[in-house]
């Protein structure tokens, strides 16, 4: 067995990475087609506030991040629903608010430290046994929700007004998507990092879309691309001793470029 599998932290990173690699594009595909791509980044920045608060209070940072991220997701959807501001502006207000609060809290906590750096950029050694349990549990829950609501989520994503005309409560399904995204982002933070998590949700989906196949196939291809990126990224991160988030996203973008080049002939 190669040395890489001898370490518990690596095994945890691989297990957590595999779960996240499946979840990220499954939720990401709905974000991409609904033009919510940057929402993931916003929620990630906001959840840093939760991490900072958790560190300040000396509690489990991901717990705080989960609360803040989900609350922000609900808040953005509500603000968007009032039509008081553009949808994009609603997202931006939360983005800055989250970042500002995180900076203030970190100042109180004594500035940037190594722990925070790991949450920003991801690290293979960050995933604790607690993290893995949380990722496995919530990951299974999220996949179940998507499986059960797949036909409604597809319908609302493709044609929201027809879905409403047919009696579906579209705003509830929109809320489901953003809340799931909020949870997935927090779970992915230890490995991919807050600054790059959006990429894991979006890049594999955008890559899969280049093949021009059905929604279902796009979904399965994006999962495969995501899994390949995360696994290759983790291995590279280990051997080259570099931040895992960066290597995962660079791998995903590399796959995008190859696919884009191959499928360009079809266009």
């Amino acid at each position: 067995m190669p040395e890489i599998f001898h370490f518990d932290f690596m095994l945890r990173a691989f297990a957590a990475g595999a779960i996240l690699a499946v979840i990220a594009p499954v939720i990401g595909i709905f974000m991409v087609v609904r033009r919510y791509s940057l929402m993931a980044d916003t929620l990630a920045h906001i959840s840093l506030t939760g991490v900072a608060a958790g560190m300040l209070a000396g509690t489990y940072p991901l717990g705080g991040a989960l609360v803040v991220s989900v609350a922000a997701a609900v808040g953005i959807e509500k603000l968007r629903g009032t039509r008081a501001v553009f949808g994009e502006s609603a997202v931006a207000l939360f983005f800055w608010g989250g970042m500002a609060a995180a900076v203030v809290l970190l100042g109180l906590a004594g500035g940037l430290n190594a722990g925070l750096f790991a949450y920003l950029f991801g690290s293979i050694s960050t995933v604790t046994a607690n993290d893995l349990r949380l990722i496995a549990l919530l990951g299974a829950l999220m996949l179940t929700v998507i499986f059960l609501l797949y036909k409604e989520l597809f319908f609302v994503s493709f044609d929201e007004s027809l879905a409403v005309a047919n009696g579906l409560r579209a705003e509830r399904f929109n809320l489901v998507i953003v809340v799931l995204a909020a949870v997935a982002i927090v779970l992915a933070m230890p490995i991919v990092g807050a600054l790059l998590i959006g990429a894991l949700m979006v890049v594999p989906v955008v890559t899969a879309m280049q093949f021009g196949v059905s929604f279902r196939r796009t979904l399965f291809i994006s999962i495969a691309i995501s899994l390949a990126s995360v696994m290759a990224g983790l291995v590279l991160s280990y051997y080259l001793d570099i931040a895992s988030g960066g290597t995962i996203v660079i791998t995903a973008l590399g796959i995008f470029m190859v696919v884009w080049f191959i499928t360009a002939k079809k266009r």
Partner: protein, 252 residues
């Protein structure tokens, strides 16, 4: 649950105002089950607003709508009204969805929350694709279809829910003349053979004169609600587009 009402759509004193603008004012009409109705009127005359009110996408400022005899607000089985939007909008051009997935989505509400598609559902979906003539397009992505093909996919989607009524918004826009004729034949057959109530918005006054049983002309207020035989094409144009003409003068 069988439908006992003689009327598919009933509007009573329907008004919709947005800020200070009145889009639809005091509109009343009844569409019987199985009727074939055309809705005409100038741009900005409230046609789309009226459709949205019927579909429940807008809530009336005053007045009421009944669907299949029940108050629209309380009506749960909205999927009984199939809706075919204009095919000219290309906002979903890049959406990664195959035609069969889009048609299937039209049955979502009928299947219901947390339920899976059964064999009967899949059969109805295939039937809808066959009826609309899109069975051979099932694996094509929506963005790769022509205007006419998209139109038929959207009709198949509406039919997949096995509706009692079909509302079509400018169905012939972006469709060439030959396909247009086949399309109206298709609607006619659907109405006659399947007994589906049809309400469609159109600018095509020739179609109004030749095809429909009843015509609604809307310019904020309902200017007429009559059988098209009562009108020559010129009079329809007068009524719907000439603001100075009193509709009462043209009534037989």
């Amino acid at each position: 649950m069988p439908i006992n009402s003689a009327y598919c759509i009933e509007a009573d004193g329907l008004t919709f105002a947005f800020d200070q603008n009145i889009a639809v004012e005091d509109v009343s009409f009844k569409i019987a089950m199985g009727q074939y109705v055309g809705l005409i009127g100038p741009n900005g005359g409230g046609k789309t607003t009226l459709i949205k009110l019927i579909l429940g996408l807008l809530t009336p400022t005053s007045g009421s709508i009944r669907l299949f005899g029940e108050p629209a607000r309380a009506f749960k089985r909205r999927f009984l009204i199939g809706y075919v939007p204009q095919s000219v909008s290309q906002s979903d051009y890049y959406f990664p969805a195959a035609s069969h997935e889009i048609v299937r989505s039209g049955r979502t509400a009928r299947v219901g929350l947390f339920r899976r598609f059964t064999k009967a559902d899949n059969a109805a979906i295939e039937q809808a694709m066959a009826t609309a003539g899109v069975a051979d397009l099932k694996d094509r992505l929506i963005g790769t279809l022509s205007g006419g093909q998209r139109q038929r996919v959207f009709i198949a989607r509406a039919l997949a829910g096995e509706p009692q009524a079909l509302i079509l918004d400018e169905p012939a826009v972006g469709v060439d003349t030959a396909s247009k004729e086949r399309f109206y034949e298709f609607l006619h057959d659907l109405n006659k053979n399947s007994g589906i109530t049809i309400l469609f918005v159109t600018h095509d006054l020739g179609v109004i004169a030749n095809e429909v049983e009843t015509v609604l002309c809307l310019n904020t207020r309902l200017l007429c609600h009559s059988d098209p035989g009562a009108f020559t094409e010129e009079r329809l144009i007068d009524i719907a587009y000439g603001g100075t003409v009193s509709p009462v003068d043209h009534r037989h």
